[in-house]
Structure formats: structure tokens, C-alpha cells
Amino acid sequence: MPFASIDELESALAGASYLPDRGLSTALYLSLKLEKPLLLEGEAGVGKTEAAKAIAQALGARVIRLQCYEGLDVAHAVYEWNYARQLLHIRAAQEGTVDESELFGPEFLIRRPLLEAVEAEEPVVLLIDEVDRADEEFEAFLLEVLSDFQITIPELGTIEAKQRPYVILTSNRTRELHDALKRRCLFHWIGHPSLEREIEIVKLRVPGVPERLAAEAAAFVAELRLLDLQKPPGLAETIDWAQALTALGQQELDVGNVETTLGSVLKYHEDLLSVRDETLAGLVANARAR
């Protein structure tokens, strides 16, 4: 455990260009300290995946990412045999007979994220992204891996982790996760950052962004979140937008540059239609007045 206090962890994360609020840094600190996986939930674009990458950088660890999806199975999450190589190997042996144990040896194994994390010699952060998208059967399997960090391959035997990977799970809450899985984890809900913090984050993440533009863009997005939109923009959208405006050489917001770049903030056609003309002019005026 390289961090003696929450403050120390916060400054390490700031070094990795990530500014968490106190709640998130406490969550990261506790999950390291108690050696428990951390389950992060929150709206899309609030920085769940980024948090895992930042803590990895702060720890000097490698990120191993498992992106979950419906139908994810062992062959794509844990391991698979390299059949093409196996067949070639049998062919190459031609005359001599091939022993089955030779054919199902480590050199024919394709390692997928979970096995990679268990086998890793150096410290790793295992990021299990959007776990709510995987099937419930897979969740049960995951639970097994997360409780004893060992994986059994019938042909090779049981592989135990040399050191416990640090695990972060993210979920968009498309469905409720199983209680047993939640019991294993610390839980943190990430909300939208405060305006001041969002401005700080934009300045940190968008090199060369004019001070005024950063403040106005963050204020504009904060106002958008109060509107009744299908997909309120997250922090990721604020950063994208500030990047776009900076690339266009803008110094501050005006109706013209907002109109041309709003597509990087609002991703639904209906949302774009509802923020137009007077609404848009009003929002720009509000953002500039701050």
C-alpha cells in the first residue's frame, strides 16, 4: 500500500491528471487498504473508466481491461486454446506421435484479461468495465474468480495469483448486480463534479485551453444538465467540447461557436433540436455572466 493517507493518494492522482472529489479518493483509498474490489457506478461520462486508469498510473501498475458485453464467455474473458497452432503442430510432427499433454501446454494458450491478471508478476489494475452488460452466468463465474483469484484450466490445472490484482468494476446500472457480487465490493456512486472542480479538470485535461473558455464551457454544460434532456452531457463531453473549441482557436463562448460545436456535447438529435435559438442564446448569456 503505497499511500499513507487519502491526501497522499489525492496528490498522486492529480499527478496522473485526475482530480477526484473527496468521496472517490476515499473509495479508492479504502479499497486499496481493505484489499476489496471497488464497484463504481454513475451516469455515462462521469469518469468511471478514467478513475481506474488514473489509479493505475498513480500506483505505477499496468491496466488490464475486460470489457463486458452480452454473451461474454470464458473463451474471451479467461483463456482459449490456439487451435490453428495446435493443428499445425500435429501436422509438423507427421511421423512422430504427438502427446496430448504437449498439445495442451502453456505455449498453445491464448491468455485473455482475467488469466492475464491472475498470472501477472508485477502489480496490475484489473478493470472490469460495464459488468452489468455481461450475462448473469458470467457474473457468477466472476464472483468465483474475485473471491480466490485462481483459475482452473482442465488441461493444465489450477493457476493461483502470485499477488492480488487491484480490481475496479464499473456499471451503468442497466440491471441490478447480484447481491453476492456487491457484498465482495466497496460501492461508490460517482455524480457530476461541482462547477469549480469541472473547470479545474478541464484546465488540467485540455492543454492550452484559455481560462475564460474553460470556465464558460463548464458553466454552459452545468446549465445543460438542468434542462430536461434525453442524455445530459457528462464530464467527458465537457472535455471533448473544450478540446474542440480550443482547437478552433476560440477564446470564449459565443452563439456562433456554440452552434457549430454543440454536436460534441449533445449526442441526440432531439436534444440538439431543443437547444436552439433563444434557448441557446440564453444559455450562452448565462454561462458568460458567471
Binding site: 483509498y29 448473469e136 441490478e176 466497496l186
Partner: protein, 375 residues
């Protein structure tokens, strides 16, 4: 640490009990995590203590509010606001009392005295609204027994199948060992199928009063058909009922669900309720790939245009949308109600749901539904 350890332990254990009373699931494992966590942070910093307790004791976003209330009351001495008492569930028989001006069913109170078998047969086609308490009690059993068929989707998972289309390469490699690498024996696999997600949204407003109880029982039967079923009720606001209807015993489930719904037999705001569903659940991709069933008479007190817009949003994400309208069971019914007219263009199947038989056939329609039916 200045605080004696024993005092902290006692404090937190009691706080755990307070949370349990507030409805959170707090087991001994969580309490022990909380204590370990507090050991690792500055007890003098109130926000660190707050976050430590919240992250170790809470595991659902929905529980955060209850936790905050308990935390403030327990540690900061704020007055506890008792949660509003839920409205007691309507009891007794469904009655058509105070129904709004809406095309309504003809009720025939015909009294029949026949043997059990044919009584059940008659009951199956009797309008829920016209049933006597005794008849409804018997109809309940019929509804509970309805098997809800679920449409299937293909998964990415493969299972051995000699008629399958995908080669089982792992098996092939093994078999090739004996033949020097020649794949003489071939094994095949095919995709497994799994039930599609099913979302049921029930209108429990005043105009649906005669049907809401029967349909709620149907929701319970559907909930029991396996994984991936979500259930909601709405009048003027949307309530998720999935946890309540998960109880095996229909009586328990029914009471729990009815107690949860705050606006039973009140007004209707279909558009606003669908919007709440789309905003909260659709955005989390619950609708994607799902069959969505709306059970409502379509009598909108609010903005019919909003209902149309939200139906369009729903239809764009769902695999198929089914609308069950009890009023459709009557020959003279025409979808004139504002909400219904606005919604129809986005409905794949438009069905009746006024008696046991129509609910039974709903089950088989769901089993065979395909994408983009014309209503």
C-alpha cells in the same frame, strides 16, 4: 486514536441496526468492513467518516438517500423525517367507481350457477370488471397459473450440436490427434438461445381500477417466468415493482406491490410516466432488445402529444412494443382516447386484456413476437 475502540464498535454496530430498520441490507460483513475502513481514515474529518461508512454499508444508489437521512440523524443529531406512510392498498372487489369519461365496457352482471369445470370456463371469458368478489377470488387462481411464454434471442454462447453450423475446433483438435492432424471427425456447435428481456408497465390509475388488480396478478405471474423481467406501475408517477413482485407467494407480492404504489386509483399521466421510464430506465439500456408491454386504457389526463413522443422513443429502442388495453375486449371499442391515439403508431401489437382468456393468449403472442409487427 482519541476515541476508545470499543465505543466506536458499539456505535457502528448500532448504526448498522438503524440502517437495517431503514430498509438497507446491512450484514455483519459490511459492518466489519466499515470498522476496518474507519480504522484507516481520520476520524476527525467528518466527510471521510461519511464516505467510509457510505462506501462500506451502502451497495445501491437507491439506498443513498436513506443512508444520508440515517447518517444525519445518528451522527449529526438532525431530526428524522418519517417517510410518508404508503397509501393502503385498495381492498375488496374491483368496482367501476368514478370511472372517467372514456369508452367503457358494458358490464353484464349475469348470475350463473353451474358446475366447477364450466364455471371456470365461463369465468375465463368474463370481464374482470363484471365479476363478483367470489368470482374474482377464483379468477385469481386462474391468472396465477398463466404461463407467460417469452420470446427468445440468440446468445453468442455455443453448445455442442451435431446439426449446428459452427465447427467445434477444440473437439476437432482432439480428434485430429489420432489421425495425424487430419480432421476426419468433425464436431459442430450452434448458438444457444435465451429468453429476451421483458418489461411490463401497468397503468393503475382510476380509470383502470376495475382491471388493475387482475393485471397486477398477471405481472406477478410474468415476473415468475424467469430472469430478465422488469415490472413497473404508474398513475401520475412511475414506480418500479420488480423487487416486490419477486415474492413467490402471490398474496405477499400483491400486498407488497400495492403498498409500494403511492398513486393507486388516482389520475393518469401516461406521457410523463413513460418519460420517467425512458429517462431513468431506457437510458440505462433496459429497453434495448426487450419486449415492452404496456397495460393501459390509454386515457391520458396530461399531454397526449408527450405520450406520442415518448412512445416513439420507446419504440426506437425496444425489440417490440405491445399494448394491452382492457377496453379493446369490447366490440364497440375504438381507440379514440387521446393517449391511445397518439401511442398506436408506435405499437407493434395491440391486444385486449379484459378477461382471463385474453391474458392467456397474450402469453402465446409474446412467445412468438417478431420485430416490427403492424398493430
Amino acid at each position: 486514536m482519541p476515541v476508545p475502540a470499543n465505543a466506536v464498535v458499539k456505535h457502528i454496530v448500532t448504526f448498522g441496526r438503524v440502517l437495517r430498520e431503514a430498509g438497507l441490507e446491512v450484514g455483519p460483513g459490511r459492518v466489519s468492513d466499515a470498522l476496518k475502513g474507519l480504522d484507516a481514515v481520520e476520524l476527525a474529518r467528518q466527510d471521510d467518516v461519511y464516505w467510509t461508512l457510505r462506501q462500506t454499508l451502502v451497495s445501491r444508489r437507491e439506498d443513498v438517500e436513506a443512508f444520508d437521512r440515517a447518517f444525519h440523524a445518528w451522527f449529526l443529531g438532525a431530526a428524522v423525517q418519517p417517510p410518508a406512510a404508503p397509501k393502503p392498498p385498495p381492498s375488496g372487489v374491483p368496482r367501476r367507481k368514478g370511472a372517467p369519461p372514456c369508452p367503457g365496457p358494458e358490464t353484464d352482471g349475469g348470475d350463473t350457477r353451474l358446475g366447477t369445470w364450466s364455471e371456470d370456463e365461463l369465468l375465463r371469458t368474463k370481464d374482470f370488471a363484471a365479476m363478483t368478489p367470489e368470482e374474482f377470488a377464483r379468477a385469481r387462481k386462474l391468472i396465477q397459473a398463466i404461463a407467460v411464454a417469452r420470446p427468445q434471442r440468440r446468445t453468442r454462447r455455443l453448445r455442442p450440436d451435431s446439426k449446428g453450423g459452427a465447427l467445434d475446433v477444440r473437439g476437432l483438435v482432439r480428434a485430429s490427434l489420432a489421425t495425424g492432424g487430419d480432421p476426419v471427425e468433425r464436431a459442430f456447435r450452434s448458438r444457444k438461445s435465451a429468453p429476451r428481456k421483458l418489461v411490463l408497465i401497468l397503468d393503475v390509475s382510476g380509470s383502470m381500477e376495475a382491471y388493475a388488480r387482475a393485471l397486477l396478478l398477471y405481472l406477478h405471474a410474468a415476473r415468475g417466468s424467469g430472469r430478465g423481467v422488469e415490472t413497473f406501475a404508474f398513475g401520475t408517477r412511475l414506480t418500479r415493482l420488480t423487487p416486490e413482485l419477486g415474492a413467490r407467494n402471490p398474496e405477499t407480492a400483491f400486498e407488497a406491490a400495492a403498498a409500494r404504489v403511492q398513486d393507486w386509483s388516482g389520475g393518469t399521466r401516461i406521457g410523463a410516466s413513460l418519460k420517467a421510464y425512458n429517462d431513468e430506465w431506457g437510458r440505462r439500456a433496459l429497453t434495448r432488445g426487450a419486449v415492452v408491454v404496456i397495460l393501459s386504457d390509454g386515457c391520458e389526463r396530461g399531454d397526449a402529444e408527450l405520450a406520442g413522443r415518448e412512445m416513439e422513443r420507446l419504440a426506437r429502442q425496444a425489440f417490440a412494443v405491445v399494448w394491452v388495453n382492457p377496453l379493446k375486449g369490447h366490440a364497440e371499442y375504438e381507440p379514440l382516447a387521446g393517449g391511445m391515439r397518439a401511442a398506436l403508431p408506435y405499437v407493434d401489437r395491440f391486444l385486449a386484456g379484459h378477461d382471463v382468456a385474453s391474458l392467456e393468449s397474450l402469453g402465446s403472442v409474446l412467445g412468438g413476437i417478431e420485430r416490427r409487427h403492424a398493430a
